[in-house]
C-alpha cells in the first residue's frame, strides 16, 4: 500500500503544479496603449505631439508625395531596371491601386490624422495644473491645422476620386466625399483652428517642444502669432484652389484667398515680400541613420529630371543650380542625364530639409489669385518679386493666360521637388493633356490622380473606386 500512497501523492503534486504555475507572459517589445491612459502631463503631451509630427513627416516623405506627383507633372523620372512600374504605371499606364504607384498618399496621412485627433480628444477642456487654457487652445489650433494639412495632402493626390473625413469613432468607415466637400471641410477646420489661436492669443507658446523644422527656418511656430501665419497661408492655398476648381469654380474665393495669403505674408503688399523671407516657413527636418533613421528619400540614385526641365530653364536663372548632370539613366522608353541636386545620393541630401509651405510659394499663390481675380498688375508684381530675386529680368504678361504661363514657370523652378504644387496647377488650369504637354511614352495616359488604395477598397468590399458623395 505504501507504493500506492506514493503514487497518489506524486500525482496530486503534479496536478497541483500544473494548475498553479503562472501562465502569464507580458509583452516585452513595446509599451501598450494602456501606458498612456490617464490625464495628460507635459511629458505625455510632448510624446503624443512628437508622435503626430513624426507620423506626418513620415507620410510626406513618401513616393506619392515626393516623386509620383513630380512624375505626373512631367518633371521627374524614376527609372529602375528592377521595378518597371515606376514608369509603366505612371507615364506608361495608370497607377494600380494594389501597388505602390496607386496605393499611396492615403493610409499614412489618415494615421497622422487619427493621431492628431486622439491628441485633441485627450486635451483637457479647461485649464489644469499642467496647462493653461491658452496653451490648450494653442495646441488644439496647431493640431487642427496639421489635420487640415494632412487632409489636403490626401485630396491633392486623389483629386476627383475623393477622400474620406474621419470621425472621432476609430471604427467608423465613412463615405468617400468629393473633392469640393473635402476642401470645404478643410477650410472649416482651418477656420476653427484659427478661432483657437484667437482664443489663445498671439503671444502664447505651445506647451511642448517643436521639431527644429518648425522653429529654425526664420519663424518660430511654437508662437501662436506665427502659427496663425501658417494657418492662414494654408487656408489661402485651399481657397485659391477651391476658387479655381476646374469642374466647380468659385471665383468669389479668389478675393478671400488674397486676403488670407496677405495675412500669412505678414501684410506685405503685392511685390513687397523680401527675398530673405522666401525660405521662411515650416519644414520637415530629416535625420538619416540611427534609431530615428528618417532620410529624405529624394536622395535617390535612380531619380532623374525630365530633360525638358533642363531645356526650359531661362538663361541666367540662378535656380538652374538645382539641376545637375548625372550619369545617363535610361529604360522603358525614357532617358535623361540630368537630375535634381537634392536627388544625388549623399548623406547631406538625406538630411536636407523639405519645405512644407514656404513664403515663396505663398507669394506665387497670391500672384495666381490676383491673376484669377482680374488684378493682373498685382499678379505681375508678385511674379517679378520672385523672378528678379533669381537674376531674371521682369516680365510683363499682357493677359491672364500669359500670366499663367509666367507663374507656371516660376513655380516649377522655385518649388522643384517640393511636392505636388505643379501637379495641382497643371490639373486645375486644364493643361495636363497632350495639347500642352509632350507624351512621355507611347501609351502615356496623362495621369492626374491616384486611385483609392486597394486596402481601402477591400475593407469596403468593393473592387473599384466608389463614386464620391457630395
Amino acid at each position: 500500500m505504501k507504493r500506492y500512497t506514493t503514487i497518489v501523492l506524486a500525482a496530486t503534486a503534479l496536478v497541483a503544479a500544473g494548475c498553479k504555475d503562472n501562465p502569464v507572459a507580458n509583452p516585452i517589445d513595446a509599451p501598450t496603449v494602456d501606458a498612456l491612459s490617464g490625464a495628460l502631463t507635459r511629458v505625455t503631451l510632448q510624446q503624443l505631439a512628437t508622435g503626430v509630427l513624426a507620423q506626418d513627416r513620415t507620410s510626406a516623405d513618401a513616393f506619392a508625395y515626393l516623386f509620383e506627383s513630380g512624375i505626373f507633372a512631367r518633371d521627374v523620372y524614376r527609372i529602375d531596371a528592377s521595378e518597371p512600374r515606376y514608369v509603366q504605371e505612371t507615364l506608361g499606364g495608370n497607377p494600380d491601386p494594389g501597388s505602390f504607384t496607386g496605393g499611396g498618399a492615403w493610409a499614412g496621412y489618415y494615421t497622422a490624422i487619427r493621431a492628431g485627433n486622439n491628441l485633441i480628444l485627450a486635451l483637457p477642456t479647461t485649464s489644469t495644473a499642467a496647462f493653461s487654457t491658452a496653451e490648450i487652445n494653442a495646441t488644439r489650433g496647431f493640431f487642427r491645422t496639421m489635420k487640415a494639412l494632412d487632409y489636403w495632402r490626401v485630396i491633392e493626390m486623389h483629386d476627383s476620386v475623393g477622400a474620406t473625413i474621419q470621425t472621432d469613432d476609430a471604427n467608423a468607415v465613412t463615405d468617400i466625399k468629393c473633392k469640393a466637400t473635402v476642401l470645404t471641410y478643410i477650410a472649416a477646420l482651418l477656420d476653427s483652428a484659427n478661432a483657437d489661436f484667437t482664443a489663445a492669443g498671439g503671444t502664447t507658446k505651445v506647451p511642448f517642444t517643436m521639431p527644429s523644422g518648425f522653429t529654425a527656418f526664420g519663424r518660430d511656430y511654437s508662437l501662436v502669432s506665427n502659427l496663425v501665419k501658417f494657418n492662414r497661408g494654408l487656408k489661402g492655398k485651399i481657397d485659391f484652389y477651391r476658387g479655381l476648381d476646374r469642374t466647380n469654380p468659385t471665383p468669389a474665393l479668389f478675393a478671400t484667398a488674397i486676403t488670407e495669403l496677405t495675412q500669412a505674408l505678414g501684410g506685405a503688399a503685392a511685390g513687397a515680400v523680401p527675398k530673405a523671407d522666401f525660405t521662411k516657413g515650416p519644414y520637415y527636418v530629416f535625420v538619416p541613420g540611427g534609431s530615428e533613421n528618417t532620410p529624405n528619400i529624394i536622395s535617390d540614385s535612380k531619380v532623374g529630371l525630365n530633360p525638358l526641365v533642363g531645356d526650359s530653364v531661362q538663361a541666367g536663372d540662378t535656380r538652374g543650380s538645382k539641376i545637375v548632370a548625372r550619369t545617363a539613366l535610361a529604360g522603358f522608353g525614357l532617358s535623361t542625364s540630368i537630375t535634381y541636386v537634392g536627388a544625388v545620393a549623399s548623406t547631406a541630401n538625406q538630411a536636407a530639409p523639405l519645405g512644407i509651405l514656404r513664403d515663396e510659394e505663398l507669394v506665387l499663390l497670391r500672384a495666381q489669385a490676383y491673376n484669377e481675380a482680374g488684378q493682373l498688375a498685382n499678379a505681375i508684381l508678385d511674379i517679378n518679386d520672385v523672378r528678379t530675386s533669381y537674376g531674371l529680368a521682369p516680365v510683363a504678361p499682357v493677359d491672364k493666360t500669359s500670366a499663367i504661363n509666367a507663374i507656371l514657370y516660376e513655380k516649377r523652378y522655385s518649388l522643384l521637388f517640393e511636392g505636388p504644387q505643379r501637379l495641382n496647377d497643371l490639373r486645375e488650369y486644364k493643361r495636363l493633356n497632350a495639347t500642352y504637354l509632350r507624351k512621355e511614352t507611347a501609351t502615356d495616359p496623362f495621369n492626374a490622380a491616384i486611385p483609392i488604395a486597394r486596402a481601402e477598397l477591400n475593407a469596403r468590399g468593393v473592387t473599384t473606386n466608389p463614386a464620391c458623395t457630395p
Binding site: Y4, I7, V8, A11, L14, V15, G18, P23, V24, A25, I28, D29, A30, P31, V33, A35, L36, Q46, Q47, T50, G51, L53, A54, Q55, D80, A81, S82, P84, G93, P95, D96, G98, S99, W106, A107, Y110, T111, I113, R114, A115, N118, Q166, N171, T174, P211, S212, V287, P288, G289, T294, P295, S299, G331, F332, T347, N349, P445, A453, N458, R460
Partner: protein, 996 residues
C-alpha cells in the same frame, strides 16, 4: 479543473485493483530467427498474449519466459519484421519462431499519446511511418528534401535552389492564414523550433525596402539542422484527429522523429563516405544579338554617331553570345558527407548510439556552400528492474553561404543584371583581375564581382537534448503502471552576417558605400512532462490509461544591426557611419493536462480511444483559461473469410487541435523619433484582448487492406478538417487611421483523399520488386469570413501579377489577379485601369500529388527510384517580366506578344506549375562479404557502394527556373511568387558504406 483532477484520482484507483497471479508455471525457451536466412533476431519482444508478461531476445536471438501450465499463446515482435503469434501446447517448453521481413512496413508502432503507442495493425489514424533507411536512401542536403514525395498528404516544396535548405512542408492543405502554418517537429520528445530567420540581405537587395531583414531574405527553416542519418524512423501525424495531444501546436500536423538507440548484440560501427557534385538543371536563356545593327536597334538611339559606336562596340566583342547563367552558375562543386556511428550496449544495462556527421555542399555559384557538422550521443541505462533512463543529445553546427537571389530593388540580383545586359558583353573577371564596368554594369552591379566580394554567412550552433526517466511502479501479470518524466530543450544561436564592401560596384551608388549586417537570433524551446500509464489486461480486453501534465516554454530574441558606410574589410558593425538596429523578443508559456483511454478488445480486433487535452497559453487573450482538445477514435479489423484478403481494417477518428495566436493581443504604442525626441502614437494595428486559439476539428476515416499474404497493402483515407476561429488580420479601412486588427472568426474547411498502394509484385530469392504509389489531394475552402475579402500579409507584387486573396466561398489557396478588360483604350493597345477585370484566376496549390517509388533488388544490386508528380497549381512568374521588359528575352517575339497582352489586361505571368520530377534514383551494390572483409582486413561485416542522383529531371509547362520556387520563402498562403530565384540543381552522389 476539478473534473480533470477527479478523473486522475479515479484512474489511480483503478490501479489498486489487483490481478491474480498464475498458480503454476513452466519455463518456455526458444530462438527467434529471420525467415529464410536463419540469422538471429536480436531484441525481439516475446509476450504471453493476454498478459503483460514478456521478455526480449538476446544477441543470439534466444529467449526464456515463464508461462502458466496449459496451452499458451506467444506473440513475437520486432520492428522491421512481421509479427507472429504462436501457440505453445500444454507442457511444451520449446518455441522457435522465424519472422519475415516487413518490407511494406505492415507493422510498426504508432504514437497515440505522450507515452503510448499502438501497433499500426490497430491504429485508427492514417499515420505515415518512414524508416530511416527509406529516408536516407538517396542523400539529401537537409531532412526536408529527403521527405519530398514520401508522405501522402504532404506537399513538400523547396523555395529555391540555393544550398542549405528552405523547404516548406504542408500537411493536409492550408490550415491557417496568420498563425503557425508548419507542422510541429518533435525529436525524441523535444519540440524543435522550425523558425526561418532572415539573414538581412534585404539591406543590400532592398527587396522589402529599408535596412532590416525581411521575408524576402531567402530564409532557411531551421529543421535544416537535423542530421537525417541519425533517424531511426519518422511518424507523421497528419492532422488534429491524430495530433490533438499536441494541443495548440497540433493543427498543422506533427512530425515525430525518433533517433537511433543503442541495442544489445554486437557493437556495430558504421562508416559512410559520400562524394558528390551538382550542376545547374535549368536556365532562363537570353536573347543573343546577331549583329551590331540589331544591338543598335535595341538601344534605339537616333544619333548617327551613337549608332556607329554601338555597332563598333558589338563588333569589338570576342564572344557575341554569353551564357551568363552558365558562366555564373556553372560551378561543379565537390560535395562530401562523412557519417560515422557506433551502436551497442554493455552488459551493465547501458546502451549507446554515438554518431557524427561532416557535410559540405557547394553551390552553383562560386563561394556558395552549405556545411554541417553534428555529434549525437544517445544513452540509455537500465537501473534495476524498474527504472529506465535515457538521455539524448545532439550538438550541431551549420554554416551556409547562399549568395544573393530573389527579389531586389537595387539591381544586385544576378538575373536583374543579366536581364539588362546585351549578350556580347563580358561580365566575367578579366585576366588583370578586374571586373568589367560601364555599359555592362546595369544598376551598377556585376554579379561576378559579388561572388568574390559579397558574403552572406549564416552560422548556427544548436543543442538538442532530451531526457526521460520511466519508473515501473506496478508490474503484475495482468497490469502495469509506469510513471514517466521527460523533458527536452532545443537551444540555438543563429548568427547571420551580410558583408557587402564599399569596393563592390553595387555599393558605390549608395550615399554611404559599404553595408554590413550582423544578426543574432537566440531561440530556446523547452518542454517537460510527466505522466502515468496504466495497462490493464483482461481476457476480454486490454485497457491502457494515461494521464499527465506538460509544459512548454519558448523564448526568442532576434537582434539585427545594419551598418552603412563601412570601411572595406571591416566586419565590426560598430565602425559603420550609420547603424540601424531592430530587435524582436518573445516569451510564450503553455501548460497542459491530459488524459487518455485506449481500449483494445474483441480479440484485438476493436480499438477504441478517447482522450482529452486541456491547454492554456500566455498568447491567448485570457492566459488562465484552459481550452479543451478532445479526441475519439475507433478501428475494427473485420474478419474476412476470403483467402486473398489477409486483413481489412476500418477506422474512424475525430480530434481537435489548436493553433495558438502568435500576436494580436495588444495595441502597442509605436514609437517614432523626431530629432532625437521620442514620440508615441497608437500602432496602426488594433489589438484584440479577447484573442483565442484557432481550433481545427478533423474527422478522418478509411480502410486498410492487406492482400495476397502480405504482398499488397491498400490504404484509403478521407478527411474533413474544419478550422474555426481563424486569427484574421482583418484589414481595417486605412481611412480610419488603422490598417488592421486581429480578430477570431471565419472558417476554412479542407477535404482530402489519401490513397496508398504498396506491393511486392516480385519476391524471389534473387529478385524482388517493391512498388509503392501514393496519391493525395486536398482542397480548402473559406466557408465563413466575417470580414471583407483581403490580401494576406504574406507578400505579393500587386494584382496585376497575382496575389493570394482570402474570400468567403473561394478556395483558401486561390489567386486573385487582373485578368481581362471590359473595354480597351481607343487605340486598342491597353486597358485603362478602370476597365481591368480583377478576378479569381485559379488555385495556387496542386489538385493532387502522386508519388511512385520502386525498388528492385537483384542479387547484390539494388535500384531505387522516386518520382514525384504534382498536377495542377499556379505560379506567378515575375522573372519573365525582367527579360520581357528589357527586350532581352530569348524569344523576343513571344516577349513582345506577352507584353502587349499584359497591356491589354491579360495576366501573362500566371503559369501552371505542376510537374513531374525524378526526385531520387539510387543504384546500390552490396560487396560480397569476402571482398568486404578483405578490403578492410577482416574487420568489416559488409560494405556497399551506391550511385545516387536527386532531382535529376523535371517535366513541366512552367517556363521559370523551377516550379517549386517561393520568393517569400515558407508561407501559409501566397508562396507562388517567382522572382529571379537561385537556379535549381541536379545532385549526384557516390557512396561507400561499411559496417564493422
Amino acid at each position: 479543473m476539478k473534473r480533470i483532477r477527479s478523473s486522475v484520482f479515479s484512474l489511480l484507483l483503478l490501479v489498486l485493483v489487483s490481478a491474480s497471479a498464475f498458480a503454476q508455471t513452466r519455463r518456455v525457451s526458444g530462438r527467434i530467427t529471420v525467415e529464410g536466412s536463419g540469422e538471429p533476431i536480436v531484441a525481439a519482444s516475446v509476450n504471453l498474449v493476454g498478459t503483460s508478461v514478456g521478455t526480449y531476445t538476446d544477441d543470439q536471438g534466444r529467449f526464456s519466459l515463464n508461462v502458466p501450465d496449459g496451452p499458451a499463446t506467444l506473440r513475437v515482435r520486432r520492428i522491421g519484421y512481421t509479427q507472429k503469434t504462436i501457440a505453445v501446447p500444454a507442457g511444451a517448453t520449446d518455441a522457435n519462431v522465424s519472422l519475415a521481413r516487413d518490407v511494406l512496413q505492415l507493422e510498426t508502432q504508432v504514437v497515440t499519446g505522450t507515452a503510448t503507442t499502438v501497433s499500426s495493425v490497430n491504429a485508427a489514424n492514417a499515420v505515415t511511418v518512414i524508416s530511416g533507411e527509406k529516408l536516407n536512401r538517396t542523400p539529401a542536403q537537409t531532412i526536408d528534401y529527403a521527405l519530398q514525395g514520401k508522405i501522402p498528404g504532404a506537399v513538400v516544396t523547396q523555395n529555391s535552389g540555393a544550398p542549405g535548405g528552405g523547404v516548406q512542408v504542408q500537411l493536409r492543405g492550408v490550415s491557417t492564414i496568420n498563425s503557425s502554418f508548419l507542422p510541429l517537429y518533435v525529436i525524441d520528445g523535444v519540440i524543435v523550433d522550425n523558425s526561418s530567420i532572415a539573414n538581412g540581405i534585404n539591406a543590400i537587395t532592398e527587396a522589402g525596402g529599408g535596412n532590416f531583414p525581411s521575408t524576402q531574405d531567402q530564409r532557411v527553416n531551421r529543421t535544416a539542422d537535423i542530421n537525417p542519418n541519425d533517424i531511426e524512423s519518422i511518424q507523421v501525424l497528419k492532422g488534429p484527429s491524430a495530433s490533438s495531444i499536441y494541443g495548440s501546436r497540433g493543427t498543422n500536423g506533427v512530425i515525430i522523429i525518433t533517433t537511433k538507440q543503442g541495442q544489445a548484440g554486437r557493437t556495430q560501427l558504421d562508416l559512410t563516405q559520400r562524394f558528390g557534385t551538382a550542376r545547374i538543371s535549368n536556365k532562363i536563356g537570353e536573347r543573343c544579338f546577331g549583329s551590331g545593327q540589331e544591338y543598335a536597334d535595341w538601344v534605339a538611339d537616333t544619333a548617327v554617331a551613337a549608332i556607329a559606336s554601338e555597332i563598333a562596340a558589338y563588333n569589338a566583342a570576342t564572344t557575341k553570345c554569353h551564357d551568363y547563367e552558365q558562366e555564373l552558375y556553372g560551378e561543379h562543386p565537390f560535395n562530401y558527407q562523412t557519417i560515422g556511428s557506433l551502436r551497442g550496449a554493455t552488459t551493465g544495462g547501458t546502451n549507446y548510439f554515438v554518431s557524427g556527421l561532416v557535410q559540405h555542399d557547394g553551390g552553383l555559384q562560386l563561394n556558395d556552400n552549405y556545411n554541417k557538422q553534428s555529434l549525437r550521443v544517445n544513452l540509455g541505462q537500465k537501473l534495476g528492474s524498474r527504472l529506465n533512463i535515457r538521455a539524448n543529445t545532439e550538438l550541431i553546427h551549420s554554416l551556409a553561404e547562399r549568395g544573393v537571389s530573389g527579389n531586389d530593388n537595387t539591381g544586385i540580383n544576378p538575373y536583374t543584371t543579366f536581364s539588362q545586359t546585351p549578350s556580347f558583353i563580358d561580365l566575367r573577371k578579366q585576366p588583370d583581375g578586374t571586373y568589367p564596368v560601364g555599359l555592362a554594369v546595369v544598376n551598377n552591379n556585376n554579379p561576378f564581382q559579388n561572388t568574390e566580394l559579397v558574403k552572406t554567412p549564416e552560422n548556427v550552433f544548436r543543442l538538442l537534448g532530451s531526457g526521460l526517466a520511466s519508473y515501473n511502479l506496478v508490474s503484475q501479470d495482468r497490469q502495469t503502471l509506469d510513471f514517466t518524466v521527460s523533458g527536452g530543450i532545443d537551444a540555438y544561436n543563429d548568427q547571420t552576417r551580410v558583408i557587402s564592401p564599399a569596393t563592390a560596384y553595387i555599393e558605390q551608388v549608395n550615399a554611404l558605400p559599404g553595408t554590413l549586417v550582423n544578426g543574432n537570433a537566440n531561440i530556446f524551446t523547452g518542454n517537460i512532462g510527466a505522466n502515468f500509464t496504466h495497462r490493464l489486461i483482461r481476457n476480454a480486453f486490454t485497457a491502457t490509461t494515461s494521464a499527465g501534465i506538460g509544459q512548454v516554454r519558448r523564448n526568442s530574441d532576434i537582434l539585427s544591426n545594419t551598418g552603412r558606410g563601412v570601411f572595406p574589410g571591416v566586419t565590426n558593425v560598430a565602425s559603420a557611419t550609420q547603424i540601424f538596429t531592430t530587435e524582436t523578443q518573445d516569451i510564450t508559456k503553455s501548460q497542459s493536462i491530459f488524459g487518455q483511454e485506449e481500449f483494445l478488445t474483441m480479440g484485438e480486433r476493436l480499438l477504441l480511444t478517447a482522450g482529452v487535452n486541456g491547454e492554456r497559453t500566455s498568447n491567448n487573450g485570457d492566459p488562465k483559461k484552459y481550452y479543451v482538445y478532445p479526441k475519439f477514435s475507433g478501428s475494427y479489423r473485420v474478419p474476412v473469410p476470403v483467402a486473398k484478403i489477409d486483413e481489412l481494417k476500418l477506422r474512424l477518428a475525430y480530434g481537435r487541435a489548436g493553433n495558438q495566436p502568435t500576436s494580436g493581443k495588444f495595441t502597442f504604442l509605436t514609437n517614432l523619433i523626431e530629432e532625437g525626441v521620442t514620440g508615441f502614437r497608437a500602432s496602426t494595428i488594433l489589438g484584440f484582448p479577447g484573442i483565442k486559439p484557432e481550433t481545427a476539428s478533423e474527422i478522418e476515416g478509411g480502410l486498410d487492406l492487406t492482400l495476397f499474404g502480405g504482398r499488397a497493402v491498400i490504404n484509403a483515407t478521407q478527411f474533413r478538417k474544419q478550422i474555426d476561429n481563424l486569427i484574421l488580420s482583418a484589414a481595417v479601412a486605412p481611412s480610419t487611421g488603422f490598417s488592421s486588427q486581429a480578430i477570431n472568426g471565419g472558417q476554412i474547411v479542407n477535404h482530402g483523399t489519401e490513397l496508398g498502394l504498396e506491393m511486392t509484385p516480385i519476391r524471389t530469392d534473387r529478385l524482388s520488386w517493391i512498388s509503392g504509389t501514393t496519391y493525395s489531394s486536398s482542397k480548402g475552402k473559406v466557408t465563413q469570413l466575417p470580414v471583407p475579402g483581403f490580401i494576406p500579409a504574406s507578400g505579393s507584387f500587386g494584382s496585376r501579377f497575382g496575389n493570394a486573396f482570402v474570400q468567403q466561398g473561394q478556395l483558401i489557396s486561390v489567386i486573385q489577379a487582373v485578368n481581362g478588360c471590359t473595354a480597351l483604350n481607343a487605340a486598342g493597345t491597353s486597358c485603362p485601369s478602370a476597365n481591368r477585370v480583377l478576378t479569381f484566376v485559379g488555385n495556387s496549390l496542386p489538385d493532387y500529388e502522386v508519388g511512385f517509388t520502386n525498388d528492385f533488388t537483384f542479387g547484390s544490386f539494388r535500384l531505387g527510384s522516386l518520382v514525384d508528380w504534382r498536377k495542377g497549381g499556379l505560379g506567378v512568374n515575375l522573372t519573365n517580366d525582367y527579360f520581357y521588359g528589357s527586350g532581352l528575352a530569348k524569344d523576343t517575339a513571344l516577349a513582345a506578344a506577352q507584353l502587349s497582352a499584359f497591356a491589354k489586361g491579360t495576366d501573362v505571368w500566371l503559369e501552371h506549375n505542376g510537374f513531374v520530377k525524378i526526385r531520387e534514383i539510387t543504384l546500390g551494390y552490396d560487396l560480397p562479404a569476402s571482398m568486404a572483409s578483405r578490403l578492410f582486413q577482416g574487420h568489416a561485416q559488409n560494405a556497399r557502394i551506391e550511385l545516387s542522383g536527386r532531382n535529376l529531371k523535371t517535366w513541366t509547362r512552367y517556363t521559370g527556373l523551377d516550379p517549386e520556387v517561393s520568393n517569400f520563402g515558407n508561407q501559409s498562403l501566397g508562396r507562388f511568387q517567382d522572382v529571379t530565384p537561385y537556379p535549381p540543381s541536379r545532385q549526384f552522389y557516390f557512396t561507400i558504406g561499411t559496417t564493422f
